[in-house]
Structure formats: C-alpha cells, structure tokens
C-alpha cells in the first residue's frame, strides 16, 4: 500500500470538515481514483466531478496521473468567480 496526502480547500474543506485527508491505496492508483474514493466517502463532493483541477506535489496534474508513495494531491475546486470553467487548460503551453 502507498500513502497519499490529500489537500482540500474552500467548499470541499467545508464538506469534509478537515483541510487534509490521508488515504492508503494500492500502488498504481491515479489522481482520478483518489477523487472517486473521496466522493464515495463524502457524496456531496460528487457535484464537483468534471469541474475540478488536480495538482500533485504543487504541479497541475491530469486525472490519469499515477501516484507514488507520499505524494500530496490537491483537489482544486472551481476558483473565484466569473470565468467559464469548462474548456480551460491549466497546462497550456507557452
């Protein structure tokens, strides 16, 4: 098993009641799988599926990114206001 440290913010922190959650998961687990695990435990999070950004160790990451022991996964809910979230690309190349 590997240990993953999850950071939660804003409405997610309110839903879960804590800013950090630690999970044990199988080697090879993805960022998306960690999110599904959270949603199963805290169903009100489910309405954010598809409206999120993810980061691993402070770098934007895709849902299929594979996690390593000790990684910090940040779940990034929609940020503050006004911009259409869908279609934005956090990894847009410069």
């Amino acid at each position: 098993m590997i240990t993953i440290y999850i950071r939660l913010f804003a409405a997610h922190r309110d839903i879960v009641g804590r800013p950090e959650v630690t999970v044990q998961t199988d080697p090879g687990a993805t960022v998306g799988a960690v999110w599904e695990h959270l949603v199963a435990e805290y169903p009100p999070l489910g309405r954010y599926t598809g409206r999120l950004l993810y980061a691993v160790n402070q770098q934007f990451a895709e849902p299929d990114a594979i996690l390593r022991d000790g990684d910090e996964v940040a779940i990034i809910p929609p940020v503050s206001g006004g911009v259409d979230w869908h279609g934005s690309d956090p990894n847009v190349s410069v």
């Binding site: 913010f9 409405a11 940020v79 503050s80 934005s88």
Partner: protein
C-alpha cells in the same frame, strides 16, 4: 527597489505604489495597474464582507507561471501580482496586477490576460459573506 517580491500571497493590506516602482524600468513607456476590489453586492444581493483562501505553496508559483504565459504573448517588461487572503472589508483591494511594457497596448492586454488566467487556474478561492448573514464560496 529592495525587498519587493513580484509574486505574493499575503494577509497584509495591498499597496500598489511599491509594485509600480518595482516594475518600471527606463525602457518602459507604460505601466498598467489593475486592482480588484471587494464590492458590496453580487447579483443584486448585498455583501457584508469577503474572505479569500489560497493553496499558497502552489498559488505563488502559479502567479509566476501566468506572468510567463503573458510574456510569451506580448513584449512586456516586469510584472508583479500580489493577492490578498483572509478577511476583506468592502473597498479593500483583493488583488493587484501591475505590468510594465514599452507601449501601452501590450501592457493593457497583458494585464487583462493575467487577471483572466488568475481567475481560471490560480488556486485561490473567494467566499461571499452576505449582508443577511449567509455565506457561500464563489465557484
């Protein structure tokens, strides 16, 4: 200017003057300052105050990344972005985006782009505290 960090997340009140002084170099004919300010209404509903939260360890480098995105699109000079977190009263400045460039068009365009990208990807969240006592995260 000594001691100015160009990209900062802070609980302290924001002051544009040191940032304007920091970005300005002799080759720049334009300095654009955008200030995002806590407003007393949203969607017709009165707001009492705002609070902001950030994933600071990540938000600070993301601000620098966004400035580099702008630099790849327009010939601009120095950029500074300071974002406040914590509780903000109405009228207080939540964010400052300051851009220098040789010419004004690039400075205006880059400042607008940087602000739009902050609202798209910077891990910073705003909570609206309504005058009636309710509160909700803007998302």
């Amino acid at each position: 200017m000594q001691g100015i960090e160009p990209f900062v997340i802070t609980e302290a009140p924001l002051d544009p003057a040191p940032l304007v002084a920091y970005v300005q170099t002799p080759g720049d004919g334009a300095v654009v300052t955008f200030a995002g300010v806590a407003r007393n209404h949203f969607g017709g509903r009165p707001t009492a105050f705002l609070s902001y939260e950030a994933y600071t360890e990540m938000a600070t480098p993301v601000l620098a990344q966004i400035a580099e995105e702008a630099r790849a699109r327009w010939p601009i000079g120095r950029v500074a972005v300071h974002h406040r977190i914590g509780t903000l009263e109405i009228g207080e400045t939540a964010v400052l985006v300051v851009v220098a460039a040789p010419h004004r068009q690039e400075a205006f365009q880059a400042a607008a782009y940087i602000m739009d990208r902050i609202k798209e990807i910077a891990p910073i969240w705003k909570k609206e505290h309504w005058a009636d006592g309710a509160a909700e995260w803007r998302e």
